[in-house]
């Protein structure tokens, strides 16, 4: 536990000086704040921008930031020194993962606050965000672990992030994309957020998200065993 807390604290200090990662955490909450207050279109669904950006935030921020952090530590050898200093790989991943999850939840809270939901709906909103962030974290960690350099991680992260972040938005405008998008967790997160005021979980929501998490977890274990951390 001591090592996990130390890594969490280190990452917090590092992020404050790391614009590339910091911008991932603050960009969508700020965009939500601005667009939700600045753009008013007749017949626009309630909290359209809140849900749109919350979905994009889930598909982008945790995935890119954790992949970037892990790959940078591998590239700059800090991870090798850490592992030699008696930090277990799972402690490192838990430390970094819990930090990114916490930071994304703070961003999610800002987006939720902008949405102006009541307490019960806010709790449901944050619960959905938490599950989405967790799934993206697993996928981002897979990319970070199997990438030897930050550049390599970025080249994998960008297309993956585009799928999970943009496809739910594109599915609003194209029925074919919508049908395909149903199998990815971020689309199901988007649907759940759209029904947040009368949220009733259905088999499709739970099944698709559960399956996405399961596949990500299996891939994570496979990659972790194959590539190791250092």
């Amino acid at each position: 536990m001591n090592n996990i807390v130390a890594i969490f604290k280190k990452q917090l200090k590092d992020t404050l000086r790391n614009k590339t990662v910091l911008i991932q955490f603050v960009m969508f909450p700020i965009m939500t704040l601005i667009t939700n207050n600045a753009i008013k279109i007749q017949e626009m669904p309630e909290n359209f921008f809140v849900i749109l950006f919350a979905t994009m935030y889930i598909g982008m921020a945790p995935l890119t930031s954790i992949a970037s952090i892990i790959s940078e530590e591998k590239e700059k050898n800090t991870l090798r020194v850490l592992i030699m200093s008696n930090v277990k790989p799972h402690e490192y991943l838990l430390g970094i993962g819990s930090y990114v999850w916490f930071a994304c939840m703070l961003g999610g809270l800002v987006i939720c606050t902008v949405g102006g939901y009541d307490l019960q709906t806010s709790i449901a909103f944050m619960g959905i965000i938490a599950i989405g962030v967790l799934t993206s974290l697993l996928i981002g960690a897979i990319i970070g672990i199997c990438s030897k350099t930050q550049m390599m991680a970025t080249s994998i992260t960008v297309p993956v992030m585009m799928i999970f972040s943009f496809v739910p938005m594109l599915s609003l405008f194209n029925s074919t994309i919508e049908k395909i998008a149903r199998v990815i967790y971020s689309e199901q997160i988007s649907r759940m957020l759209n029904q947040i005021n009368s949220l009733q979980l259905n088999v499709e929501n739970i099944g698709v998200i559960g399956l996405n998490i399961l596949i990500a977890a299996i891939l994570f274990i496979f990659i972790f065993k194959k590539c190791k951390l250092s």
Binding site: K9, K10, D14, T78, R80, V81, M84, S85
Partner: protein
Amino acid sequence: MSNAIMANGLSVKFADNWVLNNISFEVQNGIIFGLLGPSGAGKTTLIKLLTGQLQQDHGSAELLGKDTRRLTALEHEQIGAMMDNYGLYDRLSVYDNMSFYADIYRVPHSTIIDILKSIGLYEARNTAVSKLSKGMKNRLSLARALMNNAKILFLDEPTSGLDPATTKEIHDILVEQKKKGTTIFLTTHNMFEAESICDYVILLSKGHIIEHGKPTDICRKYNHLNKLHVTLKDGMELMLENDSTSASAIKEYLEKNLIEAIHSTEPTLETAFIELTGKGLE
């Protein structure tokens, strides 16, 4: 004296290339042990093996009596390492880097100030690592390795690319650590470093040990000329046999106060290395 490190027939292969081939040696507790060889000789690979970062294809190695393939938390806590490319957090300050490792090693933060002062980095404690010079990064990397009062320090090229003054400072710190009982295992291609601070060295070339022993013993072994080089005050240079036949001549020069300097023709470690491999250490 017991052994801190023991290697027996270690061999490592990358693709079809044997990077280390049948390496055997012992490192006694409390000495400075030098692994001397040119770039690509296999020095860093050997450190990785001994610290459990890499596994050998053949042979065995023990660190503090434990198989290096099965090092536990207990052994890792007794190792300090300074690797070739620092492994420091560039965006964090000197103090924050140390503070992070103090948390990892469960060392009181008050220790950080003492170490930074002893290693000459106290004034730079709030500077971001990215703004430090190479010498300062080396010192910080060493400071981190010293943090947990390790029984064994692994130092990969600790003075590579440093100016003579900083090199001397680092040597002083290492000698001080040795006095405290720390075993130091360092790699270098600097023969002066090996001769001046190492108690025992092995010369590594293309993954093989080509010579080992105390630096002075190795130099003596390859002193094929075995002569005395005498420089007189008038500038004349003489080569005299290093035996009793030269005693009367030297006595006479000394009595007449004619001698400027006397040197033996003992080779340096680098000369010995060149004789063994036909190549230099750089």
